[in-house]
Amino acid sequence: MKKFKLLISMMLIFVMVFSAVGCSSTPAEEPQENGAPADTPAAEGGEAATTGESKEKDSLIVAINIDIESLDPTAHLQVLSSFVTESIYDTLYIPDVDGNPIPQIAESHEYITDTQLQIKIHEGIKFHDGSEMKAEDVQASLLRAQASKKAGKYYKEIESIDIIDDYTVQINLTQPYIPFLIALAHHSAAILPKAYIDSEPDFTAPIGSGAYKFVSWTSGDSVVMERNDDYFDKDNMSPFGEVTFRVIPEGTSRTIALEAGEVDVAYALDSIDYNRVADTSGLQTYKKDVNGTSYLFFNVEKAPFDDLNFRKAFNYVVNKEAVNIVANNGLATIMHNVTASHFLGYNEEVRYDYNPEKAKELFAEAGFTADDTITLSVYDDVSKRIAEVIQGNMMDIGLNMDIEIVEWGKYIENTGNGNFEMAILGWNQASDPDRYFSQLLHSSQIDGQNRARYSNPELDKLIDAGRIEGDLAKREEIYHEAYKMVMEDAPWVPLYIRSNLVGATDDLDLSKAISAEGSFYFNFIDVK
């Protein structure tokens, strides 16, 4: 008995000691229900975290969540890889913080006709190997991008590229395409030396003209770049002598590394860590809405989703506030139409706010009863949580919905060939409505990206007109009508606009560095 008591006592002591080791001195904060304001500075007097020694700002260490895929700008479509390739290579244009193209290598442009675009580049731009950038490099780079399997789709409108003089190219398009400058702002339109392209490089030692030169890539661990002291844009030289990307896959580990002072910037903060980082002395957070939309879509070729009343009813039944809380801790922006609200022509003339009573009425009109059921396919933890909220919303009005979890590869296959009822996906493109309407909602894209299999000839006409209309006011009217028309037909339930959640030390100003597409230009960071 005595030995047993001693054993129990030792056990309890051990558990207490171990629990004390695990307890944080910082009490966990409840997430805000309505989302944190953008660009939240660190709260004064907040619980101090162990931030470690301060860093010299001739180096910047950024924690990223996955390893980059490639240093070849045309061989990847990955956001993280674009952080690196957009640092090493420049493009003719880059997206500003709202996603609109602004000149980088390009000094000026002029439409000679609506299918002939002349672009003059700055003189004296040096590649990292010391050679000067000329028009032939631009021509070779863009044709290479067009030929690429992954990125070629952005340049399919290019018929040919002529060299006008040493610093001027003329891009001849197959048809008028107003958002073409946006394509030239994509990371895959990076300008490389023609000689380097002709050598068929393996990109182990990439050569660009960007604000940074490549130093090393340790697979699964880090990428290191150093400042290009010969960068042509002296107003936007890098404030850092060296930038290192550290791959830290686990969200909590990234936050811990930031709090411990091991990194200066933590990209893709977990939403549960956002408020805690915001309240930590010496740290700050950025919440930047990117163009990335998350939306639920119906297979409109199948019953009951072919019934407009059903689709409208479903739009009314989804509680988007609750979806935002479970998916993003309330930190995303709720969506009411196909794109983010800053896009040309955006309006909410047709909008479906949460209204379970109205939903019930419309479901009844559609003949959908408690004896019926429908299936929402999902592919990961976040989409599953969204589905559970919606399932709960349906149950609240006495109706049923099943959830089917499908492996990603199969999910893409099923939603591509119409082998599903409802599903959830995301889309992230440049800030032009054509990039969304023409690919996701044009009937020519059924069996492609129009996974809702939605066909509306009137909308198709508007989309076709919008892509070639050069007059901005007329273009805005076209898309105004398109936004209204698509929501009247309700092939989707728009859910939310994703946000980039970034944590950083409070001596850095990242407000100009992150664009709406999610691009991150490190030479645009200011050191306070």
Partner: protein, 309 residues
């Protein structure tokens, strides 16, 4: 002995063929198209079909496997579907990191658990024995990622002694991930050591040695431990193999660029060449570790050596 080693090495070949065949079939028939995953979900069906043809994915699956095997024999593990890098390079950059934490974890585990197992056996049914067994039970019950987080919070954040992750701080980087893995292995090793010590110390020759006046320390160290080591070395060998292949959670939490993480990422991305490359390396390592363990037996117990000669 050399003949025995030679036979065992040759015996690895059918094992590798069997494992790679099984994994290749599973990857080939599991859902998801590698070409689609490479090109992204916005690629046109025509482009996907073109890439599938280029990659040889439309060939008969046995032909594809044969091609893989032929290349492997020539030392070519292929290129990654995801980033186009040679698989051998990818693995070569990560494998040493995995070996490091596996070996150091076992050393940690061994250094702590062997003495604990011995003490536990000697003090059987006492409070010390109970405490040690409780500690080992606790260690084996803790989820690896949770333990990893606790260690980071305590040693990196609160004390600031060690880095939170990564592999760039030399030995300092190795400590926490190895400790996290080693504690899990510790339980199995300690328990095995305890039970085999209990068996050995009850043997007649131990009683004889004590009766002849040999000191307790010498009896334990020179006679009992050596005979009790065989099962313990077996478990340690098994654990090295397990740790090399299964340290994904620890590698993820500590951002350790190891092979476990690479393999899981390649499976999710349907990057078959990388997955197969990792499997080959794991199977080979496991087989060689087991061979080393078997050879070690001969040095621990001369009676076993006589069987090989």
């Amino acid at each position: 002995m050399y003949k025995y080693i030679g036979k065992r090495l040759i015996g690895i070949i059918p094992v590798l063929i069997g494992i790679t065949f099984l994994v290749f079939m599973i990857m080939s028939f599991s859902p998801g198209d590698p070409a689609q995953l490479i090109l992204g979900d916005s690629a046109t069906p025509e482009l996907v079909a073109e890439l599938r043809e280029e990659m040889g994915l439309n060939d008969n699956v046995l032909v594809q496997y044969g091609r893989f095997l032929l290349n492997l024999i020539q030392g070519d593990m292929g290129t990654s579907y995801k980033n186009g890098k040679p698989v051998f390079e990818e693995i070569a950059s990560r494998f040493p990191n995995t070996v490091k934490i596996a070996v150091v974890a076992i050393l940690f585990g061994g250094l702590i658990s062997i003495p604990l197992g011995v003490i536990s056996a000697i003090k059987q049914n006492t409070a010390i024995d109970g405490t040690i067994m409780m500690i080992t039970l606790f260690a084996v019950s803790m989820p690896a990622f949770w333990l990893a987080m606790l260690l980071i919070i305590q040693f990196s954040i609160k004390l600031g002694w060690l880095p939170t992750g990564g592999a760039r701080d030399g030995l300092k980087s190795l400590i926490l991930p190895s400790l996290s893995l080693g504690l899990a292995a510790m339980a199995a090793i300690a328990r095995t050591m305890r039970s085999s010590m209990l068996e050995v110390i009850r043997q007649d020759y131990i009683r004889t040695a004590k009766a002849k006046g040999v000191s307790k320390g010498v009896v334990i160290r020179k006679h009992a431990m050596r005979n009790a080591m065989i099962p313990t070395v077996t478990v340690m060998g098994l654990y090295i193999g397990i740790l090399m292949g299964g340290a994904v959670l620890t590698e993820t939490v500590f951002a350790w660029p190891g092979l476990g993480r690479l393999m899981v990422e390649s499976i999710v991305a349907k990057d078959t060449p990388v997955t197969l490359g990792c499997i080959v390396v794991f199977a080979l390592s496991f087989s060689i570790v087991n061979l080393v363990v078997d050879v070690l037996y001969a040095y621990i117990d001369p009676r076993i050596k006589a069987q090989y000669v």
